[in-house]
Amino acid sequence: MSEKIHTSYTNEIALFRTLWLKVWLCILLISLALCPYVLSRYQLSILNEMEIAIIGALGLNLLIGFTGQISLGHGAFLAIGAYSTALLTGNLNLPFIVSLPLSGLISALLGMVIGIPALRLKGLYLALGTLAFGFIVEYILFHWDVTKGDLGMSVKRIQFGSYIIRTETQYFYFITLVTAVSIVCAKNIARSKIGRSFLAIRDRDIAAEAMGIPLAKYKIMAFGLSSFYGGIAGCLIAHYQKWIVPGSFDMSVSIAYIAMIVLGGMGTILGSVFGAVFITGIPHGIVYMTDMLKESYPALTGLIVDFKLGIFGLIVVLALLFEPQGLAGIYRRVKIYWTTWPFRY
C-alpha cells in the first residue's frame, strides 16, 4: 500500500486517490449498514447523534478551518435551523422534504447577513461579533411568542408522503444518507476552486485579494455554507429529538463544535468527522464509566453535567498546545510513518 506519486493535477485532486481508499470506504459503508442488526437501541442513538454532529462540524470547519474566519456562534445557526423546521412543518404544514433544505437556506441567509460585517472585521472582532449574535438569537427565541420561549416547541416526525420515520433504525439509515451526502459535498467544495480560494483567504487575505480572489464574495460564501450546514444539522436535531428548547443551543454548544474541529483537525474534512465522533462520544463514555463505578461512588453521576464543558474546554486547550493539527494530523503522521517504514522519510 504505497503512496502513489501523482503525475497529473486531476489525479492530485481526485476524490478517491487510491484503490485502497475505495475498498476501505466500501467496508465502512457495509459495516454501517449492518450496525442496526448488531447494536442496541441506545448505541444506535449515539451513532445518530454523532452523525448529526458531523454535519454541523463540517460547516464550522469550512468557516474556521478553511477560511480562517472565527465564529463563536455556531450554536445559533443550529438553533435557527431547528426552529425554522419546527415552524415550517408545524405551523405551515410543509412536508419535511421541503423544510429540510429550506431551514438550511434560512440559516444560510442569516449567516450571510452576519458575514457582511466580517468583511470589515478580523480575528478577535469577528469572534466577539459572532458571540454577541449567539446571545441575541438565544434571547429572541426566549422572548418571541411564536417560538414559545422556555416551554419549547414540539416537532413532528419525519414524513415522506405517507411513510413516517419512527424507529431508531429508520432514523439511522436516513441520517447516514444525509451525512454521507454532506461529507461528499464538503469534500467536493474543498477540492474545487472555492475550497482553494478559502485556503488562500485563510493564509493571507490581502495576498489572496491581490491574486484576484474576490474577498467579499468568498467570505460571505464561507459564512453562508457554514450556516447552511449548521441549519441542516439543527433541522435533523429538531426532528430527531422531537422537542426543542432555546437552552439546548447555547454557548456551550458552540464551544463543543469548536472542540470538535480543533480536536479533529482544522482545515480537513476527515478531521471534522473524527472530532465530531470523539466529542459526541466522550460524554457517553463518561456515563458508561461512571455507571460501572456507581456502586462504589454514587455521587459521581451528578458531576458529569458540571464537567462536560470543562472537559471540552480542556480538550481545546490541550489540543491547541500539543497537537494543533488534531487527530487528522496524527492519522497522517502515522500513515506516513508506516508507508515509509523502516526509513524515516
Partner: protein, 298 residues
C-alpha cells in the same frame, strides 16, 4: 429626578464594567491576547473573598487583599502554564485557549463551591447614602472611586514609570523589546497578574452589588462590549466605555423592559443590551472611540 437616579445606578454598574474592561485592555494591550476567561477570573476572585470572609471568618479587608493575591497568582500561573508556550501562535489559537480555559475554570468552580447563590457580608452591606434625595449604596460609591483611582494609577504607570514604558514597548514589538534588554516573558506574566487582580477586584465589587454565583462570569462577556466601545487598546476608553454601557443598560432596562411588539415581548432587556451595543459598534466603528486604527503590513 428619575432620570438622575437611573444615571447614578447606571454609573455604579458601569464602574464594574469599567473595571472588567480595564482588565481586558491591560492584558490585550501588553500581550495581544483577548482573554475570554476574564469573567471567570472575576468569579473566582469573588468566590475566594466569600470563602475567606464568610467561611474562614477573616476580617473583610484582609480577605479582600488575600483574594487579590490569589487572583494575581492565578493570572501569572495561566500565563506560565499556557501562554508562554503560545508566543507567536495565530490569534485563533490564543483566543480558543482562553475560551477553553473559561470552561475549565467554571467547571472547577462549580465543583468546589457548588451552584448555590451566596452573598458576602462586607462593611458596606446595607449602608446607603442620601444625596439630593437619591439613595446610593456605599459599595457603589466605593466601586466608582476605586475605578477612577486605578485609572489614574495605570495612566501614571504606563506613562511615567520605567516598567510601564517597558510594557508598552513589549506590546508594540516583542522582538525589538527583547533586543533592548526587556525580559518580555516577565512583562507578559506581570500583565496577566495585573489583569487578573483587576478582574478579581471587579468580581468582589460585583458580588457587593448582587450575589456570588457561578453565572456571574457572564458579566465578563458583557464587559467586552465596554472594552470594544472604548477601544480595545485604550485604558481611558475602558473607563468611559464602561460608564456609557452602564447608563445605556440602565436606560434600556427602564424604558424598554416589559414592552411588547406584536408577538414579541422584550422581557428583561438588560441581558442583551450589551450584546446589541457590541454588534452596533462593531458595524460602525470597530476600533472603538479611543482605539488606534491598525495598519497591516503584507
Amino acid at each position: 429626578m428619575k432620570m438622575l437616579e437611573i444615571i447614578v445606578n447606571g454609573l455604579s454598574t458601569g464602574a464594574i464594567y469599567a473595571l472588567l474592561a480595564m482588565g481586558f485592555v491591560l492584558i490585550f494591550k501588553s500581550t495581544g491576547i483577548l482573554n475570554f476567561a476574564q469573567g471567570e477570573l472575576a468569579m473566582v476572585g469573588a468566590f475566594m473573598c466569600f470563602s475567606f470572609v464568610m467561611l474562614l471568618n477573616i476580617p473583610y479587608l484582609v480577605g479582600f487583599i488575600l483574594s487579590l493575591a490569589v487572583g494575581a497568582s492565578l493570572g501569572a500561573g495561566i500565563d506560565f502554564l499556557f501562554f508562554r508556550r503560545m508566543v507567536g501562535k495565530p490569534m485563533f489559537s490564543t483566543i480558543m485557549v482562553t475560551v477553553g480555559l473559561a470552561g475549565v475554570i467554571s467547571s472547577i468552580a462549580g465543583f468546589v463551591w457548588g451552584h448555590d447563590v451566596y452573598s458576602i457580608k462586607s462593611p458596606f452591606t446595607d449602608r446607603n447614602l442620601m444625596i439630593w434625595g437619591i439613595t446610593i449604596s456605599q459599595g457603589a460609591i466605593c466601586t466608582i472611586c476605586v475605578s477612577i483611582l486605578l485609572f489614574t494609577l495605570f495612566l501614571l504607570f504606563f506613562n511615567r514609570s520605567l516598567l510601564g514604558v517597558a510594557m508598552r514597548g513589549a506590546a508594540e514589538d516583542p522582538d525589538t523589546a527583547g533586543l533592548m534588554g526587556i525580559n518580555v516573558n516577565r512583562i507578559y506574566m506581570l500583565a496577566w497578574a495585573i489583569g487578573s487582580v483587576v478582574a478579581a477586584m471587579s468580581g468582589i465589587f460585583l458580588a457587593e452589588q448582587s450575589f456570588v454565583r457561578i453565572s456571574m462570569s457572564h458579566t465578563g462577556i458583557q464587559a467586552m462590549a465596554a472594552a470594544i466601545l472604548g477601544g480595545m487598546d485604550s485604558i481611558r476608553g475602558a473607563i468611559i466605555g464602561g460608564a456609557i454601557l452602564g447608563i445605556a443598560e440602565g436606560l434600556a432596562a427602564n424604558y424598554l423592559s416589559g414592552l411588547e411588539f406584536g408577538s414579541f415581548h422584550f422581557g428583561d432587556i438588560k441581558e442583551v443590551a450589551a450584546f446589541a451595543i457590541m454588534i452596533i459598534i462593531l458595524m460602525i466603528r470597530p476600533r472603538g472611540i479611543f482605539g488606534k486604527e491598525k495598519v497591516e503590513r503584507v
